[in-house]
């Protein structure tokens, strides 16, 4: 191992693409959240709410399949949840994109690190720990 510090500067193009990806992801998903919020308000504005006791959401709003089915019927709650799902996937998409850019740079160490991060998120998504 060399004793001289080595410096690495990122590729300008990749930084611009990652920046654009993050920004587009955040605004698109929050646009959908807003749209779902309006649909939800129109149909539920005067209903009473009580969030003082935690009752877990049913699979209708807690699983990807349930949310997608709800979006097809234009259910406001499901549209909001779909926007939130897109928001959650925005930074994950950034990791996927970084893996490809490191692959182009032939930096296989960081390809492996990116894949490791995706694996960790994948395990938590499958709920292996949660039940």
């Amino acid at each position: 191992m060399s004793k001289e510090p080595r410096h690495y500067t990122g590729d300008k193009d990749i930084q611009v693409i990652i920046g654009t990806l993050l920004r587009t992801g955040v605004y698109t998903s929050l646009g959908i959240v807003l749209l779902g919020g309006i649909i939800f308000m129109v149909s539920h504005a005067r209903q009473p709410v009580d969030y003082s006791i935690f009752r877990a959401q049913g699979p209708r709003l807690a699983s990807i399949g349930g949310i997608l089915r709800g979006v097809l019927t234009l259910d406001g709650m499901a549209v909001i949840q779909f926007g939130i799902l897109l928001l959650i996937f925005t930074p994950i998409a950034r990791v996927v994109f970084s893996i490809f850019s490191f692959l182009i740079e032939r930096d296989y160490l960081y390809v492996a690190i990116g894949l490791l991060i995706l694996t960790i998120i994948g395990i938590s998504m499958n709920g292996g720990f949660t039940h």
């Binding site: 510090p5 500067t9 960790i120």
Partner: protein
Amino acid sequence: MTVIIFTLIVLFGSLLAGFLGSLTGLGGGVIIIPLLTLVLGVDIHYAIGASIISVIATSSGSAAAYVKEGITNIRIGMFLEIATTVGAVLGAVLAVYLNPGYIAVVFGCILIFSALAALRKKADHSDNLAVSGLGNKFKLNGSYPDCGRQHPYTVKHVPGGFFMMLFAGTLSGLLGIGSGALKVIAMDNIMRIPFKVSTTTSNFMMGVTAAASAVVYLHRGQIDPGIAMPVALGVLTGAQIGSRVLLRTQTGMLKKVFAVVIIFLALQMIYNGLSGKI
């Protein structure tokens, strides 16, 4: 309370939380959770679920700008994300088994710590002299642009920083916050990364860290669209207004006033947690 009134109150409160969180550098999450639980009586599980969503929105939004400027060190970010995502999943799973009262007490302590850390004068420990084997091996050393020229820097104490990040990630997953104050300790104080790089890289990492615990929360039904919608929209809008105001104002006095408010909220959280009201 009806849906429309609840939504408007939460929207306004989140706007304020995002605004103050961005002015003081504390982040919106640490403010919105006491607001929801103490003021509106929302169960802490829902508050954490909504807050983690707002963390993804604000951190990704501001990370976008910093990445384009080339200040963020993507390699340091991704290397440390191994630690923060593992921690985030552990924290979110731990939240299932912990009594909500304990979570409120831990939250209060972190809140006090973050408020004090935001007040402290920050010293830049970075240099370009020391050499670390792991820093070279993982290609963490870099340079950042400032005033028209590149400033090279080296990274030290990689294992120490990595473990601190594991801890920061766990608290982020457990409490639904970005835990920026702890990430800054890992990067500034332990790894000796320049202040500009550590702040922006910590922001860059927050999105993925929060996403890792958000999938667990979504699966557990803790993300309620009725709360997450006004919180995410409000905090992001407030944070963007805040970052514009920040460029034009001195925040020294505001930080002090705000730290007092935060410490009061934190004590309230700890008291309610201990007395079983949360």
